[in-house]
């Protein structure tokens, strides 16, 4: 019993300590923002690696999600003779929730894990230590471009997810199920509010981008410099990022859409 309490205490303390280190790293990252902007070519390279290379998975996933939404929505709405609202249903679901959340989860699984593994391996192979001894700060040279690239990429990916998802819903709803094209688009145009729905969705994805990118770079930087340590850190990145996205989504939704 005492051992169990001791273990819980020990785990809690190490969680608090890790949270503290993550906060300190976040502050360091903020301070290195001007330097990162000056070296914009490093940022562009990372935007390509974490953003552009995540695009295929986002497009494919969004297409299927949009089609599933349209199919499920049509089957329910048609019972009430409300299939004319299909466009609105698809658009609201994607802009408010599914676009930011699923883009965040996919980004965490694809780019977040890759970032952690890359930084963790650089640590394990003494590349970060080597940089420090060359008087180059790894936080601004390695971590900051990756963090900032993640922060900027997730909202753009979420927008892309939403757009492609709506297109998927359109293909299925209009071309396959026979909903009128004009009705599909006009319901969407009338029901979707740019500030309330689109901007709030974008804001959500920005917060998710900060969370996922911070978790990913921190886990890599804080990883134990062994193969097992890097593996554990990569797994933790995916798990913690996903949970953080879902928890933060609930908090933001409750604040934004009261």
């Amino acid at each position: 019993m005492i051992n169990a309490v001791r273990r819980i205490g020990s785990v809690s303390l190490s969680c608090f300590a890790a949270s503290g280190r993550a906060c300190l790293l976040f502050i360091q990252l903020l301070f290195s923002l001007p330097a990162a902007i000056r070296r914009y070519e490093l940022l562009l390279e990372q935007i390509y690696r974490v953003g552009v290379l995540t695009l295929p998975i986002i497009i494919v996933a969004a297409l299927f999600v949009g089609m599933v939404l349209a199919l499920q929505g049509y089957n329910t709405l048609v019972d009430f003779g409300a299939e004319s609202s299909l466009g609105l249903l698809v658009a609201l679901s994607l802009t408010r929730e599914l676009g930011p959340v699923l883009a965040g989860l996919l980004f965490a699984g694809r780019a977040g894990a890759a970032l952690t593994a890359e930084i963790g391996l650089m640590k394990a192979t003494e590349q970060l230590a080597g940089m420090e001894m060359m008087a180059v700060d790894p936080v601004w040279r390695v971590l900051m471009p990756r963090f900032l690239a993640g922060v900027l990429s997730v909202p753009l990916l979420a927008l892309m997810f939403t757009a492609v998802g709506i297109f998927g819903g359109y293909i299925l709803g209009v071309d396959v199920l026979g909903v009128d094209q004009g009705v599909f688009w006009s319901a969407m145009q009338q029901g979707v509010d740019f500030r309330q729905d689109v901007m709030n969705g974008l804001l959500k994805s920005l917060v998710f981008g900060v969370l996922i990118s911070l978790i990913a770079v921190f886990m890599g930087y804080d990883a134990s410099p062994t193969p097992a340590g890097v593996g554990t850190a990569t797994t933790l990145t995916v798990v913690l990022s996903s949970l953080a996205v879902l928890a933060m989504d609930f908090s933001l939704t409750s604040m934004m859409f009261e």
Partner: protein
Amino acid sequence: MAIQEDSTAIEPKSSNLSSDTENIVVLTDIHLKRGGKPVLNGLSMAVPRNSVTAVIGPSGVGKTTLLELIGGRLTADKGYLLVDGLSVPDLGRRELFTLRKKLGMLFQSGALLKDLDVYENIAFPLREHTGLPEAVIRQLVLLKLELVGLRGARRLKPAELSGGMTRRVALARAIVMDPVMVMYDEPFTGLDPISKAIIVKLIRQLNNILGMTSIVVTHDVHEAMQIADHVYMLAQGKVIASGTPVEIQSSAQDDVQQFLQGQPDGPVPFHYPADEYYSDLFDRTSSQSGKL
């Protein structure tokens, strides 16, 4: 220089903390614990300028830790550490990075950036710290590559290099900013005899040609004795002997001779400290519960 057989007897050329022109590194009574265990235990030593100083001793004795302290990657629990007249533990981050620009370090693994080729690895510090035009960077990189004999390998990736080539590239990178001192962490480990001989030759030659100071941390006695002007031997976290290679080799100390001659048992015991063997073997309580 007469051999010193006790760390307390070692006095740096200047115990004054303000400056020391003769010694580039001065460590005085350094204590450091890692994970609750003492690693350095009252270590004192001085590294003269423009010399090759070898730090030898068994694995796990704190040799690499010593380099991490000198480079400011670790801070001692107690003691004084001066590098080029500056007290390293008192330096702010910016000052520490300024000092590091004057130091080079060769890691055991090479620590090359894996996604850059040989040329870009060596150009890396120049690109980060200088605004030199590309043509000048090219000349400097080729100059250093020629010194280590790898000008023809400039477009190879680190994964395509052998262990010896990796060390030579790392060495070229360590000297590309013309440092006043280069620290070598186990530069001979895992190398074939030819590669070892090349690294030995390079360390000595570069030290003489570039007029810098070298600290070589190693447990390869033969190579250390070949190149060093001065040797420190560490054990139990402190200096147990120091002097010229000849003086160290003629030391009468048992622990020095055990290490030099590679004897498996002696002052450094073969067995890791444990309970008495037979009582451990036939301990009924542990045997029945299966506890280790």
